[in-house]
């Protein structure tokens, strides 16, 4: 029983990480039709921003409020990079899908190369509070606190995004834009501002995933964003493009499947099962669990 609880909670921790990356990716694709392969860069900037701030920024550190400050710095850095990417690189390329893919793939590769050139290719120990290295006993399972932190953060982010979408004017514009972007402009709304906003939200969530992923794994490395991005894309497709709630459900399914199959099967089989799950969803329900129906 303890093993099942442990696998479930560590699976949910992994799901939380996927959700933090996938939620922004899903909103960006749903609203702006941009397949952003550079999304992993925002995660990398958040992770390295937090890592750098904890060691160098006055007031920041690996413990207490200093750690919160370091994470806030990393999130701010990721958000800023996301906004700049949208304004400078993506905005001139809206409706030019091939060019968008080329630019974001190129940026993703360049971002990893830049992080490697600046801080080296090797994984570095991530500064984190001592309590995140410890475990908490839950129903007989010793669950790592880093994973619980990720779950709590993801639930809070999910709640915040849903509240934003439900209760604010821009949230209304984004929900409408995911359904029919053209009609939003035909009501006199400059939808490009909403594009920038979803990039900022996505960048912030991914950067938070970078910082808390550093806590979870205990290290930070330049390629971390790219490897997580693959599973985030799978989550987005299974959950449905443009649906934050769909991404949350899909992240939970993917995280749990990976964790349980890897434990009870052979290592790596969980990843293959997730890809198989993606294929099944694409065949049976191409719009995903909760996404908008694809039209010709």
């Amino acid at each position: 029983m303890g093993t099942v609880i442990l696998l479930a909670l560590t699976g949910l921790g992994l799901a939380a990480l996927y959700f933090l990356v996938a939620s922004g990716l899903s909103l960006v694709f749903g609203l702006a039709d941009v397949l952003n392969f550079a999304h992993g860069l925002f995660l990398g900037v958040g992770a390295y921003g937090t890592w750098w701030a904890a060691g160098n920024l006055p007031g920041a550190g690996p413990d207490g409020f200093g750690f919160v400050f370091a994470v806030a710095f990393g999130v701010a850095a990721g958000t800023l990079v996301a906004i700049l990417v949208e304004l400078v690189l993506i905005r001139p390329l809206y409706s030019r899908t091939i060019e968008q893919v080329l630019v974001t793939v190129g940026l993703s590769l360049a971002g990893v190369a830049l992080l490697q050139a600046t801080w080296g290719a090797d994984a570095r120990p991530f500064p984190r509070p001592d309590w995140t290295r410890q475990v908490t006993g839950i129903l007989g399972a010793q669950v790592p606190n880093g994973g619980l932190l990720l779950i709590i953060a993801a639930v809070l982010v999910l709640g915040a995004i849903l509240a934003f979408l439900r209760w604010t004017r821009y949230g209304l514009v984004i929900r409408a834009g995911v359904e029919n972007r053209e009609m939003v402009t035909a009501l006199g709304i400059d939808v490009r501002k909403a594009f920038t906003l979803v990039f900022a939200i996505g960048g912030a969530a991914a950067a938070l995933a970078g910082a808390l992923g550093g806590v979870y794994f205990g290290t930070v490395s330049p390629g971390q964003g790219s490897s997580l991005l693959i599973f985030a894309f799978i989550v987005v497709v299974i959950g449905g493009m443009g649906s934050v709630v769909g991404s949350a459900y899909a992240a939970v399914v993917v995280g749990l499947v990976q964790q349980f199959v890897n434990y009870y099967g052979t290592s790596g089989l969980g990843d293959i099962c997730v890809v198989g799950l993606l294929a099944v969803v694409l065949l049976l329900r191409p719009q995903g669990i909760a996404g908008k129906v694809a039209t010709a």
Binding site: L172, V173, R175, A176, N180, A186, G188, I189
Partner: protein, 256 residues
């Protein structure tokens, strides 16, 4: 009277197809001007070009002016804020949003939304504020689509096939509303239902194969059974032809 809208030599090419080929017409500052033609002649393309919704891959040439102001190359949201209201074909309400949210989305900063006007025309929308727009009937969705536009003051309304797919009773209701709306704001209407055209339209522009084939008085056009049949491919039910119809054949007759 100066026209509210002037379209001159408008050409639209999308994905290699020359959909509009030098279309010119004007819209009077009062009443309803109807844009007629068989399926696929470019009526919707014309409205979308006016409101700046030609696809990015498309190429638009010519002149479109509202009063003295050129509309070409201006982003859609600015045109709409400048008083160009657009009710698209197939309604395009936001199915996942409630009726109230659909209306709230149309509110513009710095102006007071005319909910009184909208609810006076469509009391149903007031009662169904919390209902998802996707669960409304076709007629109710059309009312919502028109209501969204009427929430703000407009200088010109572009309305694309508002009665398409609606039950006869609802068609009458929509026509009544448009008749009342046209008392205060000019309307450029795309409509296939000739009974609605007969009731609402004062001026008509007939497109054929991407060109203007006929302009003049809408009711006189509908009285010319043979001409209407040749231009639109449908009969009007009118038995006689009036004297002195203001007929102005233009290019495109060879399309028939």
């Amino acid at each position: 009277m100066e026209p509210v809208l002037t379209v001159e030599d408008l050409s639209v090419r999308i994905s290699g197809l020359h959909i509009l080929q030098g279309v010119s017409f004007t819209v009077a500052p009062t009443g309803v001007t109807v844009l007629l033609g068989r399926n696929g002649v470019g009526k919707t393309t014309t409205l979308r070009a006016i409101v700046g919704l030609t696809p990015p891959a498309g190429e638009v040439r010519g002149t479109i002016r509202m009063g003295a102001q050129s509309l070409l190359a201006r982003p859609t949201h600015r045109l709409v804020r400048g008083g160009l209201g657009y009710v698209p074909e197939d309604r395009c309400v936001f199915a996942g949003l409630t009726v109230a949210e659909n209306l709230r989305l149309a509110e513009r900063r710095g102006t007071s939304p005319a909910y009184d006007r909208v609810f006076a025309l469509f009391p149903e929308l007031d009662r169904r504020g919390r209902q998802r727009a996707g669960s409304l009937s076709g007629g109710q969705q059309q009312m919502l689509a028109i209501g969204r536009v009427l929430l703000n003051d407009n200088r010109l309304l572009l309305v694309d096939e508002p009665t398409k797919g609606l039950a006869p009773k609802v068609v009458t209701e929509v026509a009544e509303v448009l008749e009342r709306v046209a008392e205060s704001v000019p309307v450029l209407l795309v409509e296939q239902n000739l009974a609605v055209v007969r009731r609402l339209a004062r001026d008509a522009v007939v497109l054929a194969a991407g060109r203007v084939a006929w302009t003049g008085d809408a009711r006189e056009l509908l009285l010319e059974t043979a001409l209407t049949k040749s231009l639109l491919g449908v009969g009007t039910g009118e038995a006689h032809r009036p004297a002195g119809a203001n007929r102005a054949p233009v290019a495109g007759k060879d399309a028939h």
